[in-house]
Amino acid sequence: MRKVTAIFVLAVIGFYMISIIATIPFGVKRDNVGQHYLKNTVKETGAVNTVTAIVVSYRGFDTLGEVTVLFLAATGLGAILFDKKSKKRRLQHASLIVRVGAHLLYPLIVLLGAYVFVHGHLTPGGGFQGGAIIATGVLLMFMSYRTFETSHKVLVYIESLAGIVFVLAGFSGLIWGNSFLQNILPAGEAGTLLSAGIIPIIYIAVGFKVGAELTGLLDNLLKTIK
């Protein structure tokens, strides 16, 4: 009975989705706001990566909200899983090969993450991706060395500081410019590391924030294993 109901619901949803998607042609060029961004991004922001320019500059306020959502998710997870008793992860090491491999790879993974978020305005990638890469490196260490600990206090400080940098970058636009998150620094020469004004600053802050948040989230989840 449950399956019949489910298939009926799926048929209704599928019918309406097909009839909507059928009106959207695939693979054709559209004359919309995307074309405006593609034509003017390098001129207006100095960032080579259009997606980064949209995420951080044109729709920077959205990104501030997105970072807040991620922060709330991490905080909510910590609040749900809060437990006075189980503070330690189970003490059990992985095999020697995994431990040595993790030890070799961990600094390289963190370096790659830092590279990805520092070059967010030049290459594919950015703060969220770089932060996620750093968190995977820390997860590798968590899995191979069960005694590997991250200081909760340091994580909270990194997170708060990064958030404050983002908001201050926004207010600097309000003070020296016209609007919140306005790009007040010079755009520089497109394609170089020191270009695109406040975009790299914000993306570096986002990278630190996301890395610290995801690390705390993984730590919270792993501590519940009994």
Partner: protein
């Protein structure tokens, strides 16, 4: 076109898993399959035939041959939100398991339909 079909199939498979599965972790997996389907749908709407990534890193790239960057920026947001949703859902699952000692939603009272 195959991207639209795949995205639609992913969304429907995810909803089917949410509606019929009894293990609560499988329901969370269903949620994240729907998430991937929606992301794929948005990205493929922005696709242009033979388009390149919207990054002007090489000389000689013109805006005419690039895919739409707006859906990509939207999906970047959607992925992060999906991650947050999955993390919070899994933490709730952990708490439910602590309380009821089972993951079967039929055995957890007030959760069956």
């Amino acid at each position: 076109m195959v991207y639209y079909v795949t995205a639609l199939l992913l969304i429907l498979i995810g909803i089917y898993a949410i509606l019929t599965k009894k293990n609560i972790i499988k329901i969370v997996i269903g949620l994240s399959i729907v998430d991937s389907g929606v992301n794929l749908l948005l990205i493929s709407i922005g696709y242009i035939k033979n388009g390149t990534a919207p990054i002007f890193s090489l000389k000689g790239l013109t805006p005419d041959q690039m895919v739409d960057p707006v859906p990509q920026a939207l999906v970047l947001t959607a992925i992060v939100i999906g991650l947050g949703v999955t993390a919070v859902a899994l933490s709730l699952v952990i708490r439910l398991y602590d309380h009821h000692k089972t993951l079967n939603i039929n055995k957890i009272r007030k959760l069956k339909w």
